[in-house]
């Protein structure tokens, strides 16, 4: 009998990927790793160009005929407008310090997810189009022409970056690949190439004030439902106020807290905390119009971010409040801290925030006029203004996930930990190189929190989950606390896959469970309706 022998056959099976230069590896758009194209209606609604149905998996992306010209001009315009972008294009020495710091590289194992290479995708075209060396030497100088395949590669990989900025922490030149991604995504939007998980929330937010497009009456009804639920569990009827003119403080939080579990329990926590502080002089109101702290405009373009952010300040002005208190949100804080002031500020119609309860001046918020709830709560606890029964959280062994934006975007590291340690008895931090400024992203930020890209999100979340798994096995950690609504939505499935047995909570949910409310009935369950420690049947 002739034919190959079995071991010859086995030799032919090559499990190793081909080793080629990155420019010669063509992009392969894999299911589970990308998000669906934007709904044309959403694109049209905010007047962005080239709205059309298109499918990333199809050969023809139905681009406008002059798409190359559009990209070239947009690139040039941004090089002129954003000095940081120009500098980032020029100064990278390819030292590789950032290369292995991205959760998407670590999790997918795809070299094009190394931040240096991600930036190089764009930089190679920059060299070709805008530098003399690149024009003359071409590929030798790391330059390449913009082709349809290059554009597709950009799209695939700039939607595999959560703009988390972890890489920038390690770059000796401070190159921030997140900003490069931001530019790339702006350019995509000029070609109608946004993803729907961003485009539709943006349109909804622009129209009704929040990502889900929930109208004011439904927003109010949802909160009223929480009020009933709180009464059932604590015996206390809280009385929130809505759109109240003349309130001292406007409270803005991501709509996810109001509409998506387990953020809803955190929202109930806000309501209880505000009610508790009412007698001590807190006069705070919710807005059913500025009903979104998140800002997916940030993942679309600078202009869109400005547009959506302005709503919050317009509402603060309309209601005549003194300052704004912000809930547990992630990228809202990056927008506030990094952009708000030059974008829609100065908000000089507001006052420098002072806690009406403790008299503490939040000098860090002097220019933005917006205080993070964790700072506010930490200050209350520090001044002994909250009566707390820590033992109610004794069933929880907690660790804390530093959300990228409050951590790297505003340096909020200690206040959340202080709050957690004040409301529960068992807290264990994850390993040092996975927390604080080195925190690993949840893998779902910057609008990538869709269902269709589950594989991408699970890969990107691997380094985070791996560190949770460590404290889960070592200390029995069963609860992952976080101060970001995207985290509260993204981490439960991540835990479900990588570390079953670990739940996800907001900080204020734990605060509310420990909070001894005046006039409360005997508390037998937590806000989730689970029996409190010692109250099990």
């Amino acid at each position: 009998m002739s034919g190959p022998k079995p071991n010859e056959l086995i030799e032919k099976i090559d499990y190793n990927p081909p080793q080629k230069g990155w420019m010669d590896v063509p992009v392969k758009i894999r299911k589970g790793m990308y998000c669906y194209a934007s709904n044309p209606k959403s694109v049209e609604y905010v007047h962005l160009p080239h709205a059309r149905p298109w499918n990333p998996l199809e050969e023809d992306w139905k681009l406008p005929d002059n798409w190359k010209e559009i990209v070239h001009n947009a690139f040039r315009e941004r090089l002129d407008r954003f000095r940081s972008f120009k500098v980032f294009m020029d100064i990278c020495v390819r030292c590789g310090a950032c290369a292995d710091k991205c959760h998407f590289f670590i999790g997918t194992g795809d070299p094009k997810n190394m931040p240096v290479l991600r930036a190089e995708l764009l930089r190679s075209v920059y060299r070709n189009d805008f530098t003399t060396a690149g024009k003359i030497l071409g590929k030798v100088a790391g330059a390449r022409e913009l082709t349809l395949d290059v554009l597709k590669e950009w799209w695939y990989y700039f939607f595999q970056c959560t703009e988390c900025r972890r890489c920038s922490v390690f770059c000796p030149y401070g190159i921030d690949t997140a900003e490069i991604t931001i530019m790339a995504r702006e350019i995509f939007n000029l070609l109608g190439l946004n993803i729907d998980w961003i485009a539709t929330p943006v349109a909804n937010c622009y129209r009704t004030g929040n990502h889900l497009g929930i109208q004011p009456h439904a927003f109010k009804e949802m909160i009223e439902f929480f009020v009933d639920d709180i009464e059932e569990k604590t015996g206390v009827k809280v009385e929130p106020s809505f759109n109240k003119k003349g309130a001292d403080i406007l409270f803005v939080t991501p709509s996810g807290d109001v509409f998506a579990d387990p953020g809803t329990y955190t929202a109930m926590g806000y309501l209880m905390l505000f009610h508790y502080l009412k007698e001590q002089g807190l006069n705070v109101t919710w807005s059913t119009y500025a009903s979104e702290g998140g800002n997916f405009g940030f993942f679309t373009s600078h202009e869109m971010m400005k547009r959506l952010n302005s709503k919050m300040y317009a509402e603060a002005k309309r209601l005549g409040v003194k300052w704004i208190l912000g809930g547990e949100c992630g990228h809202m804080w990056r927008v506030i801290n990094q952009y708000m002031d030059t974008m829609n500020g100065p908000a000089d119609f507001l006052e420098e925030p002072i806690s009406p309860i403790t008299g503490t001046k939040f000098t860090n918020a002097k220019s933005t006029k917006m205080v993070h709830l964790s700072e506010f709560t930490a200050d209350l606890i520090y001044h002994n203004k909250l009566k707390l029964d820590k033992s109610r959280n004794d069933n929880l062994i907690v660790t804390y996930h530093d959300s990228c934006n409050p951590a790297r975007g505003m340096g909020l590291f200690d206040e959340p930990r202080y709050v957690i340690n004040s409301v529960c008895n068992h807290f264990h931090d994850m390993p040092r190189n996975t927390i604080r400024e080195q925190t690993f992203c949840c893998g779902s930020g910057s609008g990538l929190n869709a269902g269709e890209d589950t594989e991408l999100r699970l890969c990107g979340g691997l380094p985070r989950a791996n560190a949770v798994k460590h404290v889960h096995e070592k200390f029995g950690v069963n609860m992952l606390a976080t101060i970001c609504a995207i985290d509260r939505a993204a981490l439960p499935p991540l835990m479900d896959y990588w570390v079953p047995g670990v739940g996800v909570t907001g900080l204020t949910e734990m605060v509310a469970n420990a909070l001894i409310m005046p006039g409360e009935a005997e508390r037998t369950t937590n806000l989730r309706g689970e029996p409190l420690p010692g109250m099990e049947e």
Binding site: M33, I106, G107, D110, M222, F225, G451, T454
Partner: protein, 177 residues
């Protein structure tokens, strides 16, 4: 000498080679990183692989405790089930061990009937781990699909449902998904 003793002596070298086989299923730049970075939190793929392979080798040379094999094979397959591998490439590393072990033997060992018989048995144990890997792989893929299907429903939907708002908002949940 018996095969087990021989392999026990060379255990570290075998695990190292096995580790390299796993690392080399990734593109060269990634493989280099997986091999170089020893911190398990900076390099979860490498850290998990090292831990898994060490225990699996111990079990191959020892009890072949099913629960232990299952629980240490799971993390490494779980990673490969979400990454860009075909099912066969995701679990192929298990079978690569056969070749690694043969390369550790001297030519004369292949004339030793006792060693050959033991080698045959050892191969069967590797096959068993390979089959377990396949089961785990399928379980992981099913989990991924379940997550995809349930996620949106669980999050937004159940909150609306609890509040009794579902009827007022036809289609608002799934449309975003």
């Amino acid at each position: 000498m018996r095969l087990d003793e021989l392999l026990t002596q060379k255990k570290t070298a075998i695990i190292d080679k096995w580790f390299d086989v796993v690392a080399d299923t990734y593109p060269a730049d990634t493989a280099g990183f997986i091999k170089r970075q020893k911190d398990p939190f900076a390099n979860p793929v490498g850290g998990t692989t090292q831990k898994s392979l060490t225990v699996l080798m111990d079990e191959l040379l020892g009890e072949m405790n099913h629960d232990k094999i299952d629980s240490f094979l799971d993390p490494i397959i779980r990673i490969r089930a979400v990454q860009d591998f075909t099912p066969s490439r995701a679990i192929s590393f298990v079978f690569s061990l056969k070749k690694i072990i043969r390369n550790q033997l001297n030519k004369s060992d292949f004339n030793d009937h006792r060693i050959l018989a033991e080698l045959f048995e050892f191969d069967l144990k590797i096959d068993l781990i390979g089959l377990t890997a396949f089961d785990i792989y399928m379980k992981c893929r099913e989990k991924i699909y379940q997550i995809k299907a349930n996620e949106e429903k669980n999050r937004t939907f159940s909150a609306f449902e609890r509040a009794g708002l579902i009827k007022e908002l036809p289609g608002s949940g799934p449309e975003l998904a």
